[in-house]
């Protein structure tokens, strides 16, 4: 299940959905909005997506994750719009029969989402300026 939402992420609901009789391990990853980065204070983050493509990519990633690991449940929720500090901007919950697969699948999912899903965050800083975050510039894709 993948979802883009403008509302706070209901983490307890996701955990309940992933905890099933056949699962022996449930791994939750939350990406949360951080106040201080390199000494500068962020007051909020705003997430923007190319929603049609982001949903398509997330569905493809769920399919690929299920191909690589035997998952019981796979839930990915990403927030859009303004997100206050110390709230979850992304939640990934994977459940498996054994923990090794759950940790590996969760790690691969968040790493791949950060590279290949068209979602962008803009930081609103305490000095009144705004900044688009580009942590992983992609070199040489277009010649």
């Amino acid at each position: 299940m993948i979802e883009l939402t403008k509302r706070p992420i209901e983490v307890a609901d996701l955990l309940a959905r992933a905890t099933r009789p056949e699962s022996g391990a449930v791994v939750l990853f939350l990406g949360t909005t951080r106040e201080f980065t390199n000494g500068r204070r962020t007051v909020a983050l705003e997430y923007e997506a190319y929603e049609k493509m982001a949903e398509k990519k997330l569905i493809e990633l769920e399919i690929e994750t299920r191909r690589r690991w035997p998952l019981v449940e796979c839930l990915v929720v990403h927030r859009l719009g303004r997100v206050p500090i110390a709230e979850a901007s992304v939640a990934i919950v994977v459940s498996t029969t054994h923990r090794t697969d759950a940790f590996a699948a969760g790690q691969w999912l968040i790493d791949t989402i950060k590279c290949d899903v068209p979602i962008w965050k803009q930081e609103y800083l305490s000095d009144g300026t705004t900044e688009w975050i580009h942590p992983n510039p992609i070199e040489g894709k277009i010649s």
Binding site: Y50, M53, H78, W120, N136, I142
Partner: protein, 81 residues
């Protein structure tokens, strides 16, 4: 033919609009489309080395042909999560 390109994040801010329409020849590639976008909006030049393109919501390389009916988007470096 006229091609409408969707713009997001820093690309949208540089262009001052969420899309840009450019004219390219009938058998143009993504690389030629990119040159047309930069010609129409030179400020976008600096993000091009770090950006990717999508056609009908899939990433494509610069040698792919574009069509009037394609949904094209310029994808600056993503930063979700």
């Amino acid at each position: 033919m006229k091609i409408c390109v969707k713009l997001f994040a820093v690309a949208r801010e540089l262009a001052g609009d969420s899309e840009i329409i450019v004219e390219v020849h009938d058998h143009a590639t993504i690389a030629e489309l990119q040159r047309a976008v930069v010609a129409a909006c030179p400020r976008m030049d600096r993000i091009m080395p770090h950006s990717r393109w999508s056609l009908d919501a899939d990433f494509v390389t610069s040698d792919v042909y574009v069509h009037e009916t394609s949904e094209l988007a310029l994808i600056p470096p993503v930063s979700g999560g």
